[in-house]
């Protein structure tokens, strides 16, 4: 593929580009385009990734992740480990040592008390902190001295790199946010829009859902960085127009999440003004099978609950046949190009957690038909649609509104038609589909359809909370107001048992073995989750912007301090 080679070429030239030894602020202005506009700079009050990422230009955590998913120090001298004593033997506490001499952008020193305050800020029950999950299981956070923070957990925590690690849990300045605890969080407009941070930039002007103007932070810890004196983050439009502004008109240096069809990518590359960068994380586009009967004939309260197993999809042979009929490579080629890979795994990365499961990658139409025959679904009336006991093999397939998803729906419908399955398509506005409104019949949790398609990923590098979503008790039910992550209502006591074991297990090797087994139980063993595409990030940057390294484990702008202008 032309695009792939072009990207490889771009990567190669980057690797050989001489590192810039510029001074701070010598490279002028950098312009960044986010197709979703930024609503706040405070990650704890944010409703989306875009806010967290732009916020990361200003606010930093103690440690972050690099492009390989490894934990790297930001405000600390070293990463705590069992070896250096930073992590306690019983895994119940972790101690961070701040780098001495760090300053906030207002010139005051960064201390351990700021970190303690940040934890207090997010864990306040009335604050509505969006990143509370990063602080789960914390007993207390204390400052041992001005530069030492100790986090104690109630239970042993095999993966303690959640609080203060990654762009989703940055450190706030105590002095600035002191009055913003709890219910007062939303009254601190100025603090939320112009936080005082330790990052490479600081906010000059914030226009809600429009633009953020930033300038180099004079107190940034590396005196030579950032190379840019000012930065502008503009929001609005869509992925195609964002890509166009970088690749064709050259008005912007960087465009975030330019997910467009491979053909349009190639056409834009021909403009010669910029290039696409892609990186893979844990985002997987998948089809979820409904294990309960969503028929509208059932009374409300029983519809789509464990009381009524799905009349068609309860049979694993049908589920397997549906998966076999799909050619994932073609889906990648049409929808994502270089920014996607076919996958059979729910957990595609980090490498140590990724199962070697590749059985689904080859399409097997005949095998699928044979399985359906075996399951008793035959075309007895010759209309091209299989039936059994007078019931047609007909499925309702829903997803959110998105051009690529609609293409996928049409293609998969065709493949399923080819094996004698009738398919009705439905698309739902994303804000309704992903919103948890219990009153709406169209949410993905309620799942009033037979199969549905969406993408999900997990935060950071530890898949445990992600795999924990599929236990019996996490199924959305009318009693739980349809809240819950186990949308397929998959329920296997063996799975729950194995997951409990994962929670107890400490060593990463042993954890990986269990996690892979759990992944296989959901995918190839039961076909309840049918993964389709491992979706990468795709962003665009101009040819004159150097130092861009796409990172899917942390904020995309994680190394904006290293960016420079190629002259």
């Amino acid at each position: 593929m032309k695009l792939r080679t072009a990207l490889l070429g771009a990567a190669a030239t980057l690797a050989f580009a001489p590192a810039a030894f510029a001074e701070r602020g010598t490279d002028g202005d950098v312009k960044i385009l986010y197709s979703q506009a930024v609503s706040t700079m405070n990650a704890y009050l944010s409703s989306g990734t875009k806010d967290v990422e732009v916020g990361s230009l200003v606010l930093e955590p103690l440690a972050g992740f690099n492009e390989k998913g490894e934990v790297i120090p930001r405000l600390v001298t070293e990463i705590p480990s069992l070896e250096n004593g930073g992590i306690a033997e019983d895994l119940k506490s972790i101690t961070w040592k701040l780098t001495p001499g760090l300053k906030w952008s207002d010139g005051t020193p960064v201390t351990a008390h700021d970190a303690v305050f940040t934890a207090q800020y997010c864990m306040d029950p009335a604050g509505g902190c969006a990143q509370l999950a990063r602080y789960e299981g914390i007993e207390k956070v204390e400052a041992l001295d001005d530069l030492t923070v100790k986090i104690s957990y109630t239970e042993p925590k095999p993966n303690p790199f959640t609080a203060f690690v990654g762009a989703t849990s940055p450190i706030l300045q105590k002095a600035q946010f002191e009055k913003c605890l709890g219910a007062a969080a939303s009254t601190c407009t100025d603090a939320n829009f112009k936080p005082i941070g330790t990052g490479p930039f600081r906010v000059v002007e914030f226009r809600t859902n429009d633009t953020v103007q930033l300038e180099a932070n004079p107190e940034y810890r590396d005196p030579a960085k950032p190379a840019f004196a000012t930065a502008l983050v503009k929001g609005g439009g869509d992925a195609t127009s964002a890509a166009r502004a970088v690749m064709e008109t050259g008005e912007f240096d960087y465009a975030w999440n330019t997910q467009i069809s491979p053909e349009v990518q190639e056409q834009m590359l021909a403009g010669g003004k910029g290039q696409f960068v892609s990186g893979f994380g844990t985002l997987v586009e998948r089809i979820e099978m409904n294990m309960t009967d969503p028929s509208p004939d059932l009374p409300e309260g029983e519809r789509a609950t464990a009381k009524h197993p799905h009349p068609i999809l309860s049979d694993i042979r049908v589920r397997t046949a549906l998966s076999k009929a799909i050619d994932r490579e073609i889906l990648v080629e049409i929808g994502y190009g270089a920014a996607g890979r076919a996958t059979c795994n729910l957990v595609p990365a980090p490498e140590i957690f990724a199962s070697d499961n590749t059985g689904c990658l080859t399409q097997d139409v005949e095998g699928a038909k044979a399985l359906l025959e075996e399951a008793g679904w035959t075309d007895s009336d010759g209309d091209g649609i299989r039936d059994k006991d007078g019931k047609k093999l007909s499925l309702l397939y829903q997803t959110s509104v998105n051009a690529i998803r609609q293409d996928f729906q049409a293609i998969i419908k065709q493949w399923w038609n080819d094996i004698g399955v009738e398919v009705e398509l439905k698309s739902v506005d994303g804000s309704v589909f992903f919103g948890g409104d219990a009153g709406s019949p169209d949410t993905f949790q309620k799942f009033y359809a037979d199969v549905e398609m969406y993408a999900n990923n997990f935060d950071g590098t530890d898949p445990e909370p992600y795999l924990a979503q599929y236990t019996c008790d996490k199924a959305p039910t009318p009693e739980s107001q349809w809240q819950g992550e186990n949308v397929n209502r998959f329920c296997d006591p063996e799975y729950d048992k194995l997951l409990a074991e994962l929670v107890r297990t400490r060593g990463i090797e042993e954890r990986a073995v269990i996690a892979k087994k759990l992944n296989d139980m959901l995918t190839k063993d039961s076909m309840v989750v049918v993964p389709l595409v491992d979706r990468g990030r795709l962003s665009a940057h101009s040819n004159t912007l150097g130092g861009v390294v796409l990172n899917t484990w942390d904020s995309e702008l994680w190394n904006a301090s290293d960016w420079y202008r190629i002259k």
């Binding site: 195609t240 053909e263 349009v264 051009a403 049409a410 293609i411 398509l425």
Partner: protein, 304 residues
């Protein structure tokens, strides 16, 4: 009889007034051209699918992005679906939705406008109702309607007809306000004109006043509203299906075909030009038909 029969009818042998209208209509060149184009489009979308019986939703991954050829006269789209079949199927939906939604909205608007303009007592409540509808945010309203009515409607009318009714109703019920206000404004002025006063003074009942004297005189703004209404109904329908509120996602309509092709405009310009031209042609032809009809229905012009 208090009617004023057109003078011409007395001279010629008795025949229906509609023949006169047709005679007048025939002399309007633009209207004739418009009518023939419109009939052609209607034929293409009704009979066309029998002559070219490829399924508009059939995905053929080996024939993606093909140009014009014998197998696919108008080429194929990014999934190898036949563009000609999709244009014909799309036209059927777009034109039927456009026409019915427009008629519903014009009927609602005209009725409310005439009632509000003619009967003083109704004016306050009806105009406040209009204000209310103008103020309601469209998107949440549509989302609500779809949530409430999609399942009951598709249960009682079948999925396709149910959604059709829902869309037509949604568009009609949210687009009548402009017509209502325009008609009311015109009626307010008309009501004080001499011929209306004269008719009223001889005791013409309100119903006949409205049908005979008021409505014919507000016909031209209604015609304009109707023409513009078709265009906006076709576009609104595509916006609805784009929001997941309309027909199933693989169901083609002109508006949707246009929307989907905009991103690839530079690569495959034909895919935007075809639906764009189809919509414009339909609206243009309806506009000329409307022009001709208005002239033909106006006794002053017809007499000349």
């Amino acid at each position: 009889m208090t009617d004023t029969t057109p003078a011409t009818a007395k001279i010629r042998p008795p025949r229906s007034q509609w023949w006169d209208v047709w005679d007048q209509f025939k002399t309007h060149k633009g209207a004739l051209v418009g009518l023939s184009i419109f009939v052609l489009i209607l034929l293409a979308i009704t009979i066309g699918p029998f002559l070219w019986d490829m399924a508009p939703t059939y995905v053929d991954l080996r024939a993606r992005n093909k140009g014009f050829s014998a197998a696919h006269p108008l080429g194929t789209d990014q999934l190898g679906r036949d563009v000609l079949a999709r244009m014909m199927a799309g036209g059927k939906v777009s034109i039927s939705v456009g026409l019915t939604a427009m008629m519903l909205s014009i009927m609602l608007g005209t009725t409310i406008g005439v009632l509000a303009g003619y009967f003083r007592r109704l004016e306050g409540p009806l105009m406040r109702l209009t204000d209310l509808f103008l103020a309601l945010p469209l998107l949440p309203l549509l989302l609500l309607m779809v949530t409430l009515f999609r399942e009951p409607l598709s249960k009682s009318f079948g999925p396709e007809r149910g959604i059709f009714l829902l869309i037509v109703f949604a568009i009609g019920a949210t687009s009548w306000m402009q017509t209502a206000r325009i008609v009311r404004g015109e009626v307010l002025g008309l009501k004080e004109r001499e011929f209306v006063l004269a008719a009223r003074s001889i005791g013409t009942p309100a119903r006949r006043m409205i049908l005979r004297h008021v409505l014919p005189n507000v016909l031209s703004p209604i015609m304009v509203s109707a023409t513009l209404g078709i265009a906006s109904a076709i576009i609104t329908e595509s916006a609805l299906s784009f929001l997941g509120l309309g027909f199933p996602p693989d169901f083609p309509t002109w508006g949707r075909l246009l929307y989907d092709a905009v991103d690839q405009m530079q690569l495959y310009p034909w895919r935007v030009i075809l639906p764009g031209v189809a919509i414009s042609l339909t609206v243009l032809s309806v506009n000329y038909i409307g022009d001709g009809l208005r002239d033909a229905l106006d006794p002053r012009i017809r007499g000349r």
